[in-house]
């Protein structure tokens, strides 16, 4: 991973104090465990798909956090960086990309496990799955690019361009189930009609979504604070 972000006019650097475990992380992990316990033991089994349908409570919240929130933050921070050149935006984009990669990875792994039982195959090259894999590879490329460019200014500028372009795939991925005929199901919760789930399933999904989004922000905060500490240490060594 990269060693420092773009800044040449930093004041006298001081090392920030960073604690690994904080209240937000503990709370979010506890909520994720509680949501998982509720999903596994206290939510009805789907009549058609069986227990494997409960992967829905991991898969969809991870997709909301990884695709929409992480890639949205990556795009906004990247575009803002190109405009105002603030190193904090570069760090935010970098952190959103890495944590988003983790969440999208979970989407891409839990999806095939669920697909094996409902479609009878692990993988199908259909539009939504394939475009999500492409986005994951683009974000991975973004992080590899950051590690390959030595100059902090060049690294921040080039990765901001790549980050803002990569995130353009997200609206396309969202629309794939409408634009193309594929195996991936249509939305079951957020749609013009009533959600196609029972009240118990819907409340478990709501709880899991809040838990995973909170975990995303806890990990993002942790990653950002580490990047700040890393950059401050690099600035101190270069001073």
């Amino acid at each position: 991973m990269a060693s420092a972000s773009a800044s040449s006019s930093a004041p006298t650097p001081t090392l920030p104090s960073v604690r690994g475990v904080d209240a937000l992380l503990v709370l979010s992990v506890a909520l994720v465990i509680a949501a998982s316990v509720r999903a596994i033991w206290f939510t009805p089994v789907d009549a058609m798909l069986g227990a494997a349908q409960k992967i829905f409570y991991l898969h969809v919240p991870a997709a909301i956090a990884g695709l929409y929130i992480a890639c949205g933050l990556l795009a906004i921070a990247s575009i803002m960086y190109l405009w105002i050149k603030d190193e904090r935006l570069d760090r935010l984009a970098e952190s959103a990309a890495e944590v988003g990669l983790l969440f999208m990875g979970i989407v891409l792994v839990t999806g095939p496990i669920w697909a094996r039982t409902s479609w009878g195959t692990w993988w199908v090259w259909e539009p939504r799955i394939t475009s999500t894999l492409f986005l994951w590879l683009l974000v991975l490329g973004y992080l590899v690019l950051r590690g390959a460019v030595e100059s902090p200014e060049n690294r921040a500028r080039l990765s901001a361009v790549m980050g803002s372009l990569a995130a353009l795939l997200v609206p396309f991925i969202h629309l794939t189930v409408k634009l193309f005929r594929g195996l991936h199901p249509q939305p079951v919760v957020i749609k013009p009609e009533k959600p196609s789930m029972s009240g118990e399933m819907l409340s478990t999904f709501g709880m899991a979504s809040i838990a995973f989004i909170l975990l995303f922000f806890a990990l993002l905060r942790l990653r950002y604070r580490w990047a700040t500490l890393r950059d401050a240490r690099a600035a101190l060594e270069n001073a």
Binding site: V32, M48, A51, V109, T117, L219
Partner: protein, 61 residues
Amino acid sequence: MSMPIMMLLAAAQDTVAYVTKPSGPPDSSGYMWAGYAVTALAYGGYIALMLRRIARSNRGQ
């Protein structure tokens, strides 16, 4: 004759997805546990990685 053999082969390949039951959905709980285990490992591993990175940075390595 060939159909039962195919069913047996399919069942040997995957005992969860293909074995039919008299009523209700197939028992796919193994897949559910696999999904939750992979997710727990991924998040646990990333949190451990972040704690290690922060500890190393705090120590000045």
